[in-house]
Amino acid sequence: MSATYLRLEIVRMFRNPRFAIFSIAFPALLFLLQASLFATGKDTDVIVQVLMVNLMAFGVYFAAMSNGARLAVERAAGWQRQLRLTPLSGRAYLAGKGLSGLLLALPALLLVPAVALAFKGVELDAGSWTRILVGIWLGSIPFILLGLLVGQLSRPETLQPVNMSISLIMGFLGGLWIPIDGMPDWLREIAPVLPSYWLTQLGRGAVTSDLTESLPVTLAVLAAWTVGLGVLVIWRYRKDSSRA
């Protein structure tokens, strides 16, 4: 893998208006909207902070899924076969996609808190900021793998509806778009089934102790998702390359 290759992977994504809008602008705007609507009355600080970590998680999630979606397009375009005629190994190709997923998560990861600082005056200590930023960033790894898996399994035509369905489920049921505080009890029971619930928990634990899971449990659950999805991505990769 070369620096040029990685740089162009990132450049390509920023040329995609869908990515720029949904992964960068949308989470920041949705944060401002929700903060204005819901942060009324007492304890607005915590509500704003919870909304902030949720929408950071959403931005990172969306970047991860958009990153993986390119696999389907590149396979359909014959680009993967073309790359197999270079010294770039299949493993390095996947590793490059993983790395670009991490880098593409950064704009949303940084813009939402920047907006929160600038417009809502969020105040947190260094330890909390570190946990939120590093936690959500690295917490995007299972979602990067999920994005790659969807990209491996989809054709370009089926990609949009599949990703949209997953986003709706993760967004509404997993607590990215609606904070779990606002969920009815039965929904709050279901939410932990989804990995997005645990992604928001990484940040939530740093701003409140209400409705939180312990950090070790959160890390263990996300690690399990990472291993499970990683195994599926590698299995699919092996199947793809032996068939071609």
């Binding site: 040029t4 450049v11 390509r12 680009w79 076969r81 073309q82 005629l85 010294p87 071609a244």
Partner: protein, 305 residues
């Protein structure tokens, strides 16, 4: 050329290669050896196994039986060394990169690529450097893909129906670029549907049908193998038996004094004819085009498919 080759090894060597997809034998036992520096055309109807054979030479898939070597090494090793460049069939480019970026990206993955500017100049895509792939014509896209195939300065260039999407003028320009390039001693294997391309640019033609190689040789020889040439002449006093006994004659027709001979080697037939029948006159020799050779050699024996 940047890639040293194992001395003496052929550029491509296939031995007893078979590849099945389910019940279908896409490649059904082929032997093929291509010497360094040869320009070989691979002809055959759709489904003949051309692309399957090419995939195995490129190491994109492995044979079920037999062996494949490129410059005496496994294809994947040759690919990793940048010794093979290829234009694959149905390949497209990425719409979100410019031409210069695309070529630069592939160059950056190779160990000792040609300078990107040089590749763009050679393939005539300099003027398109800043354009995105979706703003290119079919012919321009193929030239960019040719540039990608060339950027590692490969010793072996493989082109799978490179001119399929081009109009005649673009096709001519494309082959001109290839022709200038191969003057440097590159080995080229190209699959094509266009017989004139094979006749004009290849040293050697390999014909495939139903997964087998049905003819392999210089263009002239392959043509002869199918229907040869036809000699027409007026030969006073000739008998059908004597004419049929001339060397290389495959069929003979005699009406009055007019003779029509089909020959697999018209030179030999004609020399013998003139020796035996010095009075022969009004001699015409017609060559069956490669098109006829192609049709007769690749026609299915039965019409069940």
């Amino acid at each position: 050329m940047s890639n040293e080759t194992t001395s003496g090894a052929p550029a491509v060597e296939l031995r007893g290669v078979r590849k099945h997809y389910g019940e279908v034998a896409a490649v059904d036992g082929i032997d093929l050896s291509i010497r360094v520096g040869e320009v070989v055309a691979l002809l055959g109807p759709n489904g003949a196994g051309k692309s399957t054979a090419i995939d195995m030479i490129l190491g994109l898939s492995g044979p079920d039986a037999g062996s494949v070597a490129v410059f005496g090494r496994a294809p994947t090793e040759a690919v990793a060394d940048g010794a093979i460049g290829a234009m694959l069939q149905n390949g497209t480019l990425l719409d979100d990169l410019t031409v210069a970026e695309t070529i630069g990206l592939v160059a950056s993955l190779h160990r000792s690529p040609m300078p990107v500017e040089q590749v763009m100049r050679r393939t005539g895509v300099e003027d398109l450097a800043k354009r995105r792939a979706n703003r290119l014509s079919g012919g321009q896209q193929q030239r960019v893909r040719f540039a990608i195939a060339l950027v590692s300065d490969p010793s072996l260039l493989i082109l799978d129906e490179p001119t399929a999407a081009m109009d005649p003028a673009a096709r001519r320009d494309f082959w001109k670029a290839i022709y200038e390039d191969t003057a440097h001693g590159r080995t080229v294997l190209f699959a094509t549907h266009y017989l004139e391309e094979a006749e004009e640019f290849a040293d050697r033609v390999v014909l495939m049908r139903s997964g087998k190689i049905v003819a392999d040789g210089p263009v002239a020889q392959v043509r002869a193998a199918a229907s040869g040439r036809t000699i027409r002449a007026v030969v006073p006093g000739a008998g059908e038996e004597a004419l049929g006994a001339l060397p290389a004659v495959t069929a003979c027709e005699l009406r009055e004094q007019r003779v029509r001979l089909s020959s697999s080697d018209s030179d030999a037939t004609l020399r013998a004819l003139l020796e035996r029948f010095p009075a022969a006159r009004d001699i015409e020799i017609a060559s069956a085009g490669l098109e006829d050779a192609f049709l007769s050699l690749t026609a299915e024996p039965e019409t069940t498919r």
